[in-house]
């Protein structure tokens, strides 16, 4: 029996078409019905206009798009024979605002998506606290705004640097926001100190805790989510950051990954209009995002959970929470390393002298984000965007399923809908 399920409460809309046999999902295809055509809009525009256009691809990870654009243009400079020198300060501040965007995304996902979704599977209904997610996200976006002017849709990064030249007072303000976030996370989300949480050796440490996260953890276990939602057990990280390195992992064996092997293929969706395309590495589907990043970083607690529960829905959810915790600590470290006396900007060659191709790769909240540009005399000839959701939530054939298609197989429709959310879907990015 084929049933169609509409997914909203995401950025944009998606539909899943389920083929149910004997009460469980035999196969499912996913379609994204919205399209804006950002790639063709960028064609024939001044290369630097992309700095204003691409952050507007997404209202939730626009900062990652900005960074991908800046990296793509800087890569084009390099390929044209001009070095773009970035000061340490520039690299740290760019990295910091990106990390804060990941943090706000994970907070929203916890309180506005995953806790409400898991509550649908358990009775009696749990009281929801979406304002908590909104509150934490607003603190994170304030920290971004000190450096970037506003969030969302900032354009403060430019090839060669950043426009802002922060003072010590600015850094202090940002620090206090980060502290406020950590306090919130300790008090409201985990119920213990960040340090203790990060020293967890296994999920047994959750025993006896009473907090939002332990509620989530307990119910994931009660619902046997550690035995469901397995994808391909293959992980991919492409962005190079202070918190990630380009790696692919198959059967726990890591090798370096290179963006040149990313392959875009047509999606397969039965009887549905979709503007999405699939992203593969070579001709294989890999899972990307927080689970891949934490495993490639050898985060002990996630490695431990992974050893027992593989790439189940449980591992996927918990890895994201532990990534959030490590990034909160990382954000503080980054701030302490800023030397405000360094340059904010190093002059670059006039863009109209640049004829070259450039690739920008960034780890966005949900996984790798690629911007590929071809510039001629400073004007964009071609612009391609590949987003994290295209890696995780593609729609392929039954013989060669995408990570999400594989993960939903063999579960009930209700469970499948929850598992779908564990990947954190963004429709507006996917079709752009």
């Amino acid at each position: 029996m084929i049933t169609k399920q509409l997914i909203n409460q995401i950025e944009g809309e998606a539909t899943i078409s389920f083929d149910i046999k004997d009460g469980v999902v035999d196969f499912a295809t996913i379609a994204f019905p919205h399209f804006r055509g950002i790639e063709s809009i960028l064609k024939r525009k001044d290369a630097l206009d992309a700095l204003v256009i691409t952050p507007r691809v997404c209202g939730i990870c626009g900062h990652a798009h900005l960074m991908a654009t800046v990296r793509a243009i800087e890569d084009a400079y390099k390929n044209a024979g001009y070095r773009v020198e970035l000061s340490k300060k520039v690299e740290i501040i760019r990295e910091f605002t990106l990390v804060m965007e990941i943090i706000q995304n994970h907070f929203k996902w916890i309180y506005l998506t995953i806790i409400p979704e898991i509550s649908k599977l358990i009775k009696p209904n749990q009281k929801q606290t979406p304002l908590k997610g909104a509150y934490a996200a607003s603190i994170a976006s304030k920290a971004i705004a000190i450096f970037a002017g506003q969030w969302p849709h900032s354009s403060y990064m430019i090839p060669g640097g950043i426009t802002t030249d922060p003072t010590n007072v600015d850094i202090l303000k940002v620090e206090s926001y980060v502290d406020e976030l950590i306090n919130f996370f300790e008090k409201e989300s985990i119920g213990i100190s960040l340090e203790t949480f990060l020293s967890f050796k296994s999920n047994k440490n959750f025993g006896g805790l009473k907090s939002d996260i332990s509620f989530l953890e307990n119910n994931l276990m009660n619902l046997n989510m550690d035995k469901k939602g397995f994808a391909h057990d293959r992980f991919l990280v492409l962005g190079k950051h202070t918190f990630s390195k380009p790696l692919k992992i198959e059967q726990t064996y890591p090798t370096s990954s290179d963006v040149k092997y990313v392959n875009i293929t047509e999606a397969y969706s039965l009887n549905q209009v979709s503007y999405a395309k699939n992203a593969q590495y070579g001709d294989i589907f890999y899972e990307a995002g927080p689970l891949s990043r934490t495993i490639s970083n050898n985060l002990p607690i996630v490695k431990n959970i992974y050893r027992r529960s593989k790439d189940s829905a449980y591992t996927r959810v918990m890895s994201r929470i532990f990534e959030l915790a490590t990034l909160l600590q990382h954000a503080k470290n980054l701030l302490s390393k800023i030397d405000i006396s360094q340059k904010s900007y190093t002059q670059c060659m006039d863009i109209s002298k640049i004829t070259a191709k450039g690739i920008g790769v960034v780890e966005a909240p949900r996984g790798p984000l690629l911007h590929l540009t071809d510039i001629k005399d400073g004007v964009i000839q071609e612009y391609k965007i590949v987003t994290p959701t295209q890696f995780n939530i593609g729609s392929s054939t039954k013989e060669n399923p995408t990570p999400v298609q594989q993960a939903m197989r063999g579960t009930t429709k209700e469970e499948a809908l929850f598992i779908f959310r564990t990947f954190d879907v963004c429709s507006v990015c996917t079709t752009h």
Partner: protein, 411 residues
């Protein structure tokens, strides 16, 4: 030269660009009485939304009465009402759950509802937005799929001709609307909008996509995206452009509607004058540097370190009408100009093609808001530099003339 002088005159004297901040005691006394009557009437009605009570929420969020009144007086000021209206504005905020709101998301990045409704608002604005009787919002509500469609039907039916319709996102008209379909039925965004708009009391287009088409409408406009005002006729319509729209302005419009039962005074682009009656440039914190001729010549120079004017590195503040230089973003923490990133004119039509230039404006062909032919800034900008300086004089003179006209009852 004549063209320019005429242009500047038009800019400062056109009725749509004029902001009237003092309408006289008689006017405000009359307005106060009508607002009071309306607020009393609303108080007697039962709340539509019983889910949340604002006093409780404010308390649990740690906002005390004093903070709340401070916020109310700021909103009163923003709406350009005398201070005596503050208690009424506070009452109106508490009555938010009497105004049914339906929120539609069309072709966009979800930036306005994702980022604003959830996280970007000043604390009380955000709570107030949570309190509004949001009868239907595709991204935020609990129900999804067929259940959600039924909720929408119910909301339209129950609050027929009474609900405010908020629209976020552009309407893709290309390929018979097939670039954006909504719901299990695959209804096009255009049909969806027309169906829900039919029985709304008024429509509020939020963000630059819903107002002018936004980034999806950027050349070559692959999906044929247009704004709400291009397709909806014969309905009160308020545009709140900017990318993203400022939550303070969204709240201002709702409060105004609750208070008066009417849409606020609008400019020629249907933008509320309380928010879009001023140029960014007029209230910019860097304006003094502009007047002193101190500019950032290129990013990272001494001027940049000293927060000089960003005009020469492409700031569009002089041709952009919005209040972000006053209310700023992210709870007033900052705004682009504050980090040395010039304004991109995101609340103006066609900003995505005309104003979004990263490069210094001297190289760009742009059309001034005063109309006329496209010129490079070497021709036009120099003129404007001096014009803006004398502008204040012209403005003052124009106000006097305008005031006289009003006395004769022409306004």
């Amino acid at each position: 030269m004549t063209d320019r002088i005429e242009g500047v005159k038009k800019l400062f004297t056109s009725k749509s660009a004029r902001v009237e901040t003092n309408r006289g005691d008689a006017h405000y006394e009359k307005l106060f009485q009508s607002c009071l009557a309306r607020v009393e009437e609303l108080k007697s009605q039962t709340p539509i939304n019983k889910r949340l009570d604002i006093s409780d929420v404010l308390e649990t969020q740690g906002v005390n009465r004093r903070d709340f009144m401070k916020w109310a007086s700021a909103v009163t000021g923003m709406l350009m009402l005398p201070a005596s209206f503050t208690p009424l504005v506070a009452d109106a905020a508490l009555l938010m759950n009497r105004a049914p709101v339906i929120w539609l998301e069309l072709s966009d990045c979800a930036g306005n509802s994702e980022a604003l409704l959830r996280s970007d608002g000043p604390k009380i604005d955000e709570i107030v937005l949570d309190i509004i009787s949001l009868e239907f919002h595709e991204t935020l509500q609990a129900a999804s799929g067929h259940q959600a469609e039924k909720q929408l039907e119910d909301a339209i039916h129950t609050f027929k001709d009474k609900y405010l319709l908020f629209v976020e996102g552009a309407i893709p008209m290309g390929m018979n609307g097939q670039f954006g379909t909504i719901g299990a039925s695959g209804e096009t965004m255009y049909d969806h909008l027309m169906r829900v708009a039919k029985h709304s009391a008024a429509i509020v287009a939020v963000g630059s996509c819903a107002t002018f088409g936004g980034v999806p409408a950027a050349s070559p406009n692959p999906t044929g995206a247009v704004g709400v005002m291009d397709v909806i006729k014969g309905k009160p319509l308020i545009n709140i452009p900017a990318c993203p729209a400022n939550p303070a302005n969204m709240v201002g419009v709702i409060i105004h509607y609750i208070l008066t039962g009417q849409v606020p005074e609008l400019d020629s682009l249907l933008r509320p004058k309380f928010a879009f009656g001023y140029r960014i440039h007029d209230n910019c914190e860097r304006r003094a540097h502009f007047d002193a001729g101190e500019y950032v010549e290129e990013w990272g120079d001494e001027g940049a370190k000293n927060n000089f004017c960003l005009y020469k590195v492409g700031c569009k503040g002089p041709m952009t009408f919005n209040n972000c230089s006053i209310v700023r973003y992210n709870e007033g923490v900052n705004w682009p100009v504050g980090v040395g990133r010039g304004c991109i004119g995101c609340s103006e039509p066609d900003f995505w093609d005309k104003y979004a230039y990263e490069r210094p404006m001297a190289d760009a062909n742009i059309k001034a808001p005063t109309g006329g032919v496209e010129k490079t800034v070497d021709e036009f900008g120099l003129g404007l530099l001096t014009a803006a300086g004398i502008g204040i004089g012209i403005h003052a003179a124009a106000s006097i003339v305008a005031g006289k006209k009003e006395d004769r009852g022409e306004a």
